[in-house]
Symmetry: C2
Subunit: 223 residues, 2 copies
DNA sequence: CTAATAGTGTCTCTGAGACACTATCTA
DNA sequence: TAGATAGTGTCTCAGAGACACTATTAG
């Protein structure tokens, strides 16, 4: 690759905000930093962008390093460029948001990271860099996407009950919805369909299982 | 600044999509490239990010180089990172969108650019790089912002008539609205208020002038 | 008084939201 | 048959959209 004609001394990296729902709480994957700065503090999993990969590729690669995931949703959020966001050197970082269903997720252990752990968004530890700001931005975007698209399918298993679907909305948007109105609204949008199967585990009346009709993200006014 | 520990050979730049309305058409400022690649072709005005400025600062600086503007709106859109988007070397570019009212705008001549010119979005010339894609993304974002926020104030003069306001919506969203329903809707949102002044230029019945109530961008369901 | 744009009210229909009971299953 | 969750229908009210005439001004 030709040498560029301007000297820049800026590091380009990617930060991942990985969302899932565990124990009826919206959670984010954080890693404990084994090195300075912010040694032993928690931070978002991140990666340096190599010369021959796009930002998306870096983000996806880093996601795979830490998790075993199929059917993952990845979306670019925003590029953060404050001069002093990294105390060591000038770093510009593009934040990505990922959505993972609990079922499709296993956290890989890796010697590069002392520890990876999911934290509820309501109980985040102290974070290094500007990662608090990044997470706030990501939560805002996630809420918006949930309200206006069929993105919920990426937090749910492939087949799910109406109650599970409503839980996703109630947990992420942090509000209660009336059961009848919620079902009426979802049904009117034709974004999910019957699988004609039922739950098996339930001690009581088993619920019907549904799946999303369209696996592409489409704009729908859900709530 | 400490030397970063990873060798990256990536150029960081900024591309500006500058919107305004001229002659009842939505237009974008393009510059004619005096150098290769894409010599003499039109492209978005762009700038290289210096080590000690944020992306926002670069975008703003470049905007000021080309235009004399007060009261400008600037918003980060997306960061484009395809490996071969610049044929010379690896370039990652963050796109910004700017909104300018015709009244607040004068295009500066600059010897760095052979020529700057506004083009209607419906009649854009052949563009270098991935600038067509960037513009399409910017138009989508602009439409969304117009529908759901009070951003229209940045394309309008400070005081404007109801007809001018409706024109902005009709031109950008490319659809007609009923005069009565449009006014009813806008009035119900309390985002504009009377100035108790009237147009003077009009040959016929002069219209009342309004101004926006709130100069911050707020989420409002306009259309 | 003519020509041209500014400005206004009503009706219908759709959809959001409030609200409570019956159905189905297991043990 | 008890216990627990699944599942459903109606009414009201707000707001979107269709639609046509009067008001004001300059010349």
């Amino acid at each position: 690759m030709t040498k560029k004609w301007v000297e820049q001394n800026i590091l380009i990296s990617v930060d991942n905000v990985i969302f899932t729902i565990i124990n009826d709480k919206l959670q984010i994957l954080l890693v404990s930093r084994p090195i300075e700065p912010f040694k032993w503090q928690w931070s978002l999993p991140w990666g340096v962008v190599w010369d021959k990969e796009t930002l998306e590729e870096t983000a996806y690669k880093k996601l795979e390093e830490k998790t075993s995931v199929k059917n993952i949703y990845l979306e670019q959020l925003y590029t953060f460029s404050n001069i002093r966001r990294d105390p060591r050197w000038r770093t510009i970082s593009t934040a990505y948001m990922a959505l993972v269903s609990r079922e499709n997720l296993t956290i890989k252990s890796s010697k590069a990271w002392r520890e990876s752990k999911f934290f509820p968004v309501t109980a985040l530890p102290k974070l290094g860099f500007d990662h608090k700001e990044i997470i706030e931005y990501a939560i805002k975007r996630l809420k918006w996407k949930l309200e206006y698209t069929n993105i919920a399918q990426y937090i749910l298993p492939e087949k799910f009950t109406f109650t599970q679907l409503q839980n996703v909305y109630e947990i992420v948007l942090n509000q209660k919805f009336d059961v009848r109105n919620f079902r009426k609204k979802i049904n009117s949008l034709w974004i999910i369909e019957e699988t004609w199967e039922k739950e098996v585990w339930n001690q009581y009346r088993p619920a019907r299982l549904f799946k999303f009709t369209n696996n592409n993200i489409e704009i729908v006014d859900v709530i």
